[in-house]
């Protein structure tokens, strides 16, 4: 029953367990994730998306960190913010199929019918759900299956502070601890759920304190610090992969914009402070923070930054184009009726 506050790893400089290659990979993943987030915002603003989009903004470092070190067979439940694009691209998933899904296209990963509640079964990613907190019961099943099959799969279970209001979170924490399931409870705590601030959501500030009640070790990390998040993810994955049972990670991050496109941006009845959010964007942008660190370490130059950035934007745009090129998925009712049940069992 230990609660370890991990000192922000970036302060430890060269002591980081991350290799240079890993740092660059993480950095470029974050760059792409943020480029994708901007592209998605353009697409929804242009009215070309079906359904919702929830901007990631400057909150994507935890997702990149959570995804980057997973193996293909590890199970990932991505946080729904920015629709898990950061998590998934970091895991190596071909997310253009998911972009197409957002646009309701035939090329979509779920044939354009899932809205954003998609699945990539072959990549061991099984969703997002319209009901926040739906991950919790499911991860019990993933963790159970890993133990049952005697694999060393890890379950990376990402969700927001809002989701920890649901009783389902308790059930998952309890059962994961009881059965020593390989589940990383990866909390991306931005202190907000829709239009409610943390003072209306949780009695304390740190949700990770819950973990102790179940005997689950917990760590906290600055969610704006990509490399700190990554080091924590490595530690968490190693912990669970070695059979030690679940672990709880609280990444503290920021929501510098409204909940979802076209929404209010309030905390309860009060409008949130735009100046503060602008300041966060200026000073707490994880890409800028990571870039400064890489430059300091001689791993990056301004020129390379600009080059990579252009590449990331191009990649993002290509996904948009790929999606637009695919026809709108509009199967008939008759065809859909054939899709309700899977064929023959065994």
């Amino acid at each position: 029953m230990q609660t370890t506050a991990v000192a922000a790893a970036s302060k430890r400089g060269k002591a980081s367990p991350l290799t240079d290659e890993q740092k660059i990979l993480l950095f470029r993943n974050l760059m792409l994730a943020m480029a994708l987030d901007r592209m998605m915002m353009r697409v929804i603003r242009a009215g070309r998306m079906v359904g919702f989009y929830h901007e990631g903004g400057i909150a994507l470092a935890p997702g990149v960190a959570a995804g980057t070190f997973l193996r293909k067979e590890d199970i990932l439940w991505p946080h729904y913010r920015a629709h898990g694009l950061a998590h998934m691209l970091a895991k190596g998933i071909d997310v253009k199929l998911y972009v197409a899904e957002h646009m309701g296209r035939e090329a979509g990963c779920c044939k354009g019918r899932s809205s954003f509640h998609f699945s990539f079964p072959q990549d061991h990613v099984f969703g997002l759900s319209g009901n926040i907190g739906a991950n919790f019961p499911m991860v019990v099943g993933y963790g159970f299956a890993a133990k049952y099959k005697k694999t060393d799969q890890v379950v990376m279970n990402c969700s927001g502070d809002g989701s920890y209001g649901e009783g389902r979170a308790h059930e998952a924490l309890l059962i994961s601890a009881l059965w020593k399931l390989p589940v990383v409870f990866w909390l991306e705590n931005n202190g907000m759920a829709q239009h409610s601030g943390e003072q209306d959501l949780f009695p304390g500030k740190e949700i990770s304190v819950l973990a102790a009640g179940y005997g689950i070790p917990a760590m906290k990390v600055d969610g704006q610090d990509l490399f700190a998040c990554a080091e924590t993810a490595l530690a968490a994955i190693a912990h669970t992969r070695s059979g030690k049972g679940p672990i709880f990670i609280e990444c503290r991050t920021l929501r510098a914009q409204e909940h979802s496109v076209g929404n209010l941006n309030n905390e309860g009845p009060v409008k949130r402070d735009q100046k503060l959010m602008d300041e966060w964007k200026a000073t707490r942008d994880p890409l800028k923070i990571a870039a400064a660190r890489l430059i300091e370490e001689g791993l990056l130059t301004e020129t390379v930054f600009t080059e990579w950035q252009a590449e990331a934007d191009k990649q993002a745009d290509a996904m948009d184009e790929f999606s637009e090129a695919s026809p709108k998925a509009m199967p008939s009712v008759e065809e859909l009726y054939t899709q309700v049940y899977a064929g023959k069992g065994n």
Binding site: V50, G112, G130, G165, E166, L264, V333, L336
Partner: protein, 323 residues
Amino acid sequence: MTDTRELTLCEAIREAYIDEMRRDERVFMMGVSIQAGSFPHTKDLTPEFGTHRVVDTPLAEPAIAGAAIGAAQEGLRPIVDFMYAGFSYYAGSEVFMQASQYYFLHGSQLPLPLVFVGTCGVGRRVANEHSTLPYGALIHHPGIKVCMPSTPYDAKGLMKAAIRENNPVFFLWHTSMMSFKGHVPTDDYVVPLGKADVKREGTDVTVLTAGMQVHTALKTAEKLKDEISIEVIDARSFEPFDRDALFKSLEKTTRLVIVDEDFERAGFSAEISAQVMEHGYDLLDAPVKRVCHPNFPIPGGYMDVYTMPTVEKVESAIRDVCR
């Protein structure tokens, strides 16, 4: 004569809240992010009523649904807003079994005045939990009243009736109708639960429907007006259901089409068809037809154009029963 103004559906609901919270101190509201107004019907209520009467809750649907029951048992008159009605499935036990059954099971002693609110409806392309219309499932479970307005007028009147009702009511509203406008009186009025409304009179075919689909039915009636005289009945409440109004219409038309955005199987339309079979068989000159959501999950994407009731589908059903 009472004054009326144009209000949106959400503004009309909001006015009902304001009226009833002014009238009765025991009325309060809870939900996720209702203070800001995740939808406009709860927007800006705290300046007048305070954050203790318009309460933001953590995401915990079972707890807030059960809290409504508990608070009602202790003499309050709660309104619990689930945001999307599909989220209420987290509180399946509290909604389907507890709220609806405790009054009866506990010996019909203690009224349970509470209102659950949820938005729903196909057509915004957001799939399952953000679309599901739970009325078919709700009415299967005895003890809870269920309504859904098709106009701002009905919205305000039904909400006021729901809040004054001494029983659990699930008030549904269609997300696509958020900004629908209509005339709403400033004076106090209620639209009683259990009273259908003839939204258009006709003599050849009765179309029974509710919510958003009232408008599909009305459009169809308008389109066919030179050929077929269509009576459009807005059920307004699914439970209690106004069978008298329906049968009165059938006596005249002898033909019935039910238009229902919810899943077809074992839903509201099935029930009404079965009731007509049992109690109105002799009124009919043709079998009842249903136009519903097909029996598959509500997809996201562009498929809603095929899965929703449309003027074409309603027209075709009407032509079928007239054959």
